[in-house]
Symmetry: C2
Subunit: 751 residues, 2 copies
């Protein structure tokens, strides 16, 4: 029986955020603070021949201007395990590679003055031939985005498992389809913003809107030539990241820091919505050639996938995306005969990076759409086809995915039942349709992103002399509520009310290392580290209680603020009495303990979550407009630490999935973005949101803390294919190119 | 051989302070921050019959007004081990007890508006008879400042040791003199200031200019009815305390917090210089009746002391001052036959509290002046008399002072030699004179001030995976440089360069408990805790090195960033390599350790510092003006961790001692202060400062970290008597009433 976890307790930050009390970097101000802005390239591809800053420097109110020449010129990147993977500079030194590449930065007394100074910086460019199309970029003789990357190849990844040809031979039906997906913007409500203060002691303090304080610290230290101990990165409240703030340092962090070092004043830089939307990273567009063979009984027999990832100008997380795009092909179904080739290419556009789901929504769109086609080819119910192949607890697939627990089958059955699948599929009136999509997702990954001696996740528990508990964690809450999830885990393990827990998070001077918020890792990795730290701290408190109760510590239970003898609940002391006794026994030494969690390096992830979504749509045959009316989302995230938070994640990911499926598209002409604001980059409005039925299928995961798995990312994968399959069910149009826009629907119906 | 301690390394905060970069509470600003001001009583003693705030609340811009009725009405006080000792309320509920007592507080959009609102608060007072004179306050029928304190006695302390009468009978000379001392203001450059933010999560965060974050936290929790874990107190840079910020919570901390709770906005309250000067605590004025007997050979044979402490309206530290005033009587000389009676009385004036030296400058003025008279009565050199009675290492006096080390004798001899005592004493031209004063002082005290399970001092060392070191300490640097002193101790113990150390200090959410900055406790108590934490953390690093070097950890030395085999310095690894190895050996678990220090409770203090000062003066016989021309200060603070910092302390305390001796006087008429600013409260100007020769007598204290003792407080004691004795030597006038003003000198010379 759990007392604190698996309860829908309200998050303490909800109210502060609702009433505007929570402080984001944008709310912060320091004495003598300057504002910084960044000069960006207007050219998609050009040599930078000369930058003249003298006129800008003469403008009253301007305090400093920096260009690539003021930097050490070193490269950096989120994947820092090898120099070859790091291809970006904080300010360009040789040439620009996309419209928006960072050329210079200004610090001035206010933002207007800084903007005015930008216009006074004279940059002499030597235009070079650009390349935009990923297939063209691969051709012999194409312009090279990076001189040292022949063929513009950022990453090539090939996987072979089983016997593809044999599998195809056994197949009753083999389909070969080509799918394309579009770039999507993360669009956090809070664009990137940073505040840097370098003081005369030689210490740099940066308040950054980031998904990883530790990455930002490492990158700033490297690019500024400072010891890591001289760089402190603090994450205040963050207004969403969705992968867009998971790279570590961004140009603004560097520029604010260097401008602060030059001026001796704090410097704040905030990206505008336009900068955030079109110059930062986006979800990779993919061209997916997918060949799948199915036996007569519906068993998946073979798959071949060729993926071409349009990487834009820099690596970012892209090499990992190329690998993950293979992994998602084998998720969440059994498959043994498999061949994958993924190639990520450089082009003169804004870089592709990690975005919620990290490669999965693209691959799932292809795979789950094709499964729908295969089911129809076989004359089989698409849900039946999926059940036939579902991964089960105990499975270990050829790529190294081990399944410690699975509620996937239950998710399929429960979603179908609740959505009325049998009564609706193929039977709805014209213009109405129903479709299904599925996904499986990792709970943190076992690969190292950074070379560091520290564990992937560590947490510290400190219990003060009056029984208050502080959880120190490097884990990064960007609004999803992980600080409170970890608090619930700590309270449950310690056996104390949630009110006793305070959290100090993501401050590199104060908290144990945690790599940050990506790969849906926090609940599993930081959660296990927290649980382990709490267990060790509790051991000392139990010793205190044992002394008071004249019992053995192993015979005691800590629950709801009380410690008592198992089986004799009347023989007990309060938690705080036990704490005081433990302090006395150690001459007043603080009660504190650290826990770490290190995933099994032989597995891709400690566990896998599962998600099934059934979409119902109404298609307007006059306009091609698709309205998703209902979305039934069944989710196996193990034991939900906070069911209300999990529901929030489910609803949020449906929102993101609907936007991805239907309308959120970044497009460009000659490297120049068409969109520049939320007026033309269309995120769904409240009227476009479907009714969401969130079904929680609870299984107890043996690896997760109190049985929990991830809940925020995998759920974004099934939405687009469920909608595409529902559109087919409604109007018989099979859309293979995203987004599923009215134009494409109309073209399909021949209207 | 020490590498980091006992070196005059520059403090990293010096430069940030010099260029204005260091942030004090006054520099801080938060979104929607309000300003608060406090309404004070214009009456010295009156019932508060009614407070009407309605007109003030109607003033546009006023956000909240609070009075005693808005509080829980609970008492608080720095001495919180007993309810009887706590006699103050954050806002008065029944009556006011001195001009300045806090009646109400206002929060408004700016300070002007808040001040305007103060004038609109209508308070109906019922005036009561006041009492100002401490002797009168003791009389039968005197008005009672506190109804539950008969006879206005705040504290009575009697000590008896040996046989007074026998000692007096053995004496060749017995003197009986009466001395009086005056109230002195702490006058930190930064008056009290606080910024409080209560947020919707129910957490109160307070940035306070304080000498004890933990006291403030405890007091706020108590008076606001919050759990301690919901109150976080952070000490930013502090511009001096000198004991005036050592009480814990002050009225402004409470008012800012409650006003923030009422308004939901952050509230800042800053005392004006006038408020700081005349309404906060001050050095106790004492009336000292001193009787001392000396044998013919100069041996001190007996002492009787009666001390009457004018306590003002509240206890503050006063009961402790009453005890300490006894202790200082037996310092730094041997004395066995002793009788002391100290009485602290309440009067209707601003309270007396702790101030640098805490009772010692008053008692030393009397004792050291009287020793000068006794020496002259015996026909003995005053330095000879002192040498005859000097405490030595190994001594344990009747009050429980144990002397683990003493350089007192060397201080006397060295100061006399350097000042040219033999050539000058009694031999200078008319109007010029020379005099000596001495003191001994505690290095932290063993008595508990607060009931807490935590150790008196604890420190934590965290070593990150790249070898950076963070020292977490609750110790409070108020400008004296203790953060850097502790950094040097940590670096020395770890064997790393000082640059690797970062300090996080005095933040109740983050740092281990340390009671704070008083009783000259930081170097001894927090220093030993730091050393112990560093030693434990080092042990893990040595294990890492041992693994790499295939050696035993006990055979290794860590010095200057390198760990090597004792006797084979070429067989070594860098500190950071060893750290990485230690991380690997523990699956990436952070290297961290805590150390605590608990003084021996049977002794008053772990050790004693000694100080000798020789003053030379020129007395203008026309005006009575005294110019201290030279001051030779010899000091035994054990091994100076940072000799340059110690010199700073010596010079600063001479400055404070000269001001105390000659000009810094708070005076009042009918409870109303005469002074209100630095124009009429006269601190010495640069021209009034003597030339200071600082002599450091180095002994290695067995208890202190690396042999160190206190260096900041004992040195303020000898200055006034040295000057008084020099005035006598110059013009034959014996001044027994402080300050040693021109009027008194002229009166003495009969001019």
């Amino acid at each position: 029986m759990n007392y604190v976890v698996n309860r829908s307790l309200p998050r303490p930050d909800s109210r502060t955020k609702a009433i505007g009390q929570a402080a984001y970097v944008g709310d912060m101000s320091l004495p003598r603070m300057l504002r910084g802005v960044i000069l960006r390239s207007p050219w998609p591809h050009a040599s930078v021949l000369n930058v003249n800053t003298s006129r800008a420097l003469r403008l009253p109110g301007v305090k400093a201007v920096i260009t690539g020449k003021d930097t050490l010129g070193v490269t950096f990147g989120v994947l820092a395990t090898s120099d070859k993977l790091m291809d970006r500079r904080a300010l360009v030194t040789d040439k620009v590679r996309y419209i928006g590449d960072e050329v210079a930065a200004v610090a001035a007394v206010d933002e207007d003055t800084a903007m005015e100074a930008l216009a006074l910086i004279q940059v002499e460019y030597g235009p070079l031939s650009p390349v935009y199309d990923p297939a063209e970029a691969l051709r012999e003789g194409a312009p090279l985005v990076h001189g040292d990357k022949p063929g513009n190849v950022s990453k090539r990844h090939v996987v072979k498992a089983g016997d593809l040809e044999a599998g195809l031979r056994e197949s009753a039906v083999v389909r070969e389809d080509r799918f394309t997906t579009h770039p999507e913007a993360h669009s956090p409500m809070e664009p990137h913003v940073t505040l840097a203060q370098y003081d005369a002691t030689g210490k740099l303090t940066v308040w950054a809107s980031t998904q990883s304080s530790f990455f930002v610290q490492m990158d700033l230290a490297k690019t500024l030539g400072l010891p890591e101990g001289r760089v402190r990165v603090i994450k205040p409240h963050v207004g969403g990241g969705f992968g867009g703030k998971s790279d570590g340092m961004d140009s603004l962090d560097f520029c604010a820091s260097l401008l602060s070092m030059k001026t001796g004043c704090p410097v704040k830089i905030a990206y505008s919505r336009e900068e955030e939307l079109i110059y930062t990273r986006r979800r990779h567009p993919l061209i997916i050639e997918l060949k799948t063979g199915v036996r007569k009984d519906g068993t998946l027999a073979a798959r071949q996938c060729r993926a071409l990832l349009d990487g834009g100008a820099y690596n970012s997380w892209g090499p990992i995306t190329t690998i993950l795009s293979s992994n998602w092909n084998l998720m969440p179904y059994r498959m043994t005969n498999y061949l994958y080739e993924g190639i990520r290419v450089y082009t003169n556009k804004a870089p592709g990076g990690a975005m919620r789901g990290h490669g999965a929504p693209q691959i799932h769109f292809a795979v789950e759409s094709q499964l729908d086609m295969l089911a129809r080819d076989l004359g089989m119910d698409p849900i039946e086809l999926r059940l036939r192949n579902a991964l089960e607890a105990g499975d270990l697939n050829p790529l190294g995915f081990y399944i410690p627990s699975s509620g996937f089958r239950e998710c399929l059955e429960e979603a179908a039942r609740r959505a009325g699948w049998k009564e609706k599929w193929g039977k709805l009136p014209p213009g109405k349709g129903i479709g299904v999509g599925c996904s499986g997702f990792v709970c943190g990954a076992a690969f190292p992103v950074r070379p560091t001696a520290a564990a992937f996740s560590a947490a510290r528990i400190v219990i003060s002399g009056d029984g208050q508990v502080t959880l120190l964690t490097g884990a990064v809450d960007t609004g999803q509520g992980s600080d409170f999830t970890l608090s619930q885990i700590a309270a449950e393990e310690l056996g104390v009310p949630i009110e006793l827990i305070s959290v100090v998070a993501a401050d590199t001077d104060l908290t144990p290392v945690d790599m940050g918020n990506f790969s849906s890792r926090t609940t599993m990795l930081a959660g296990n580290a927290t649980k382990s730290a709490a267990a060790s701290a509790k051991a000392r408190v139990l010793e205190g209680a044992a002394d008071l109760l004249e019992a053995k510590a192993v015979d005691l239970l800590s629950q709801e603020g009380r410690i008592f003898v198992k089986g004799s609940p009347e023989r007990g002391v309060s938690f705080v009495e036990a704490v005081r006794a433990a302090y006395r026994m150690a001459k007043g030494q603080q009660i504190t303990a650290e826990g770490v969690y290190v995933p099994n390096p032989r597995l891709i992830s400690p566990s896998i979550s599962f998600s099934v979504q059934i979409a119902e749509v109404e298609v307007d045959r006059e306009t091609g407009q698709v309205q998703v009316t209902d979305l039934t989302s069944a989710h196996d995230c193990g034991v939900a630490i906070n069911p209300m938070s999990v529901e929030g994640q489910l609803e949020g990911s449906v929102y993101m999935g609907v936007g991805y499926a239907l309308s959120e598209e970044l497009s460009e002409v000659d490297g120049q973005s068409i969109q520049s604001s939320f007026t033309d980059y269309h995120m769904p409005t409240v009227g476009e949101m479907p009714r969401v039925a969130a079904l929680h299928v609870e299984v107890v995961d043996p690896e997760g803390p109190f049985g929990a798995k991830e809940a925020g990312e995998g759920t974004v994968g099934p939405t687009a294919p469920a909608i595409a399959n529902a559109i087919f069910d409604a109007v018989g149009v099979r859309l293979v190119d995203m987004p599923l826009s009215p134009e494409k629907v109309l073209r399909g119906t021949g209207s």
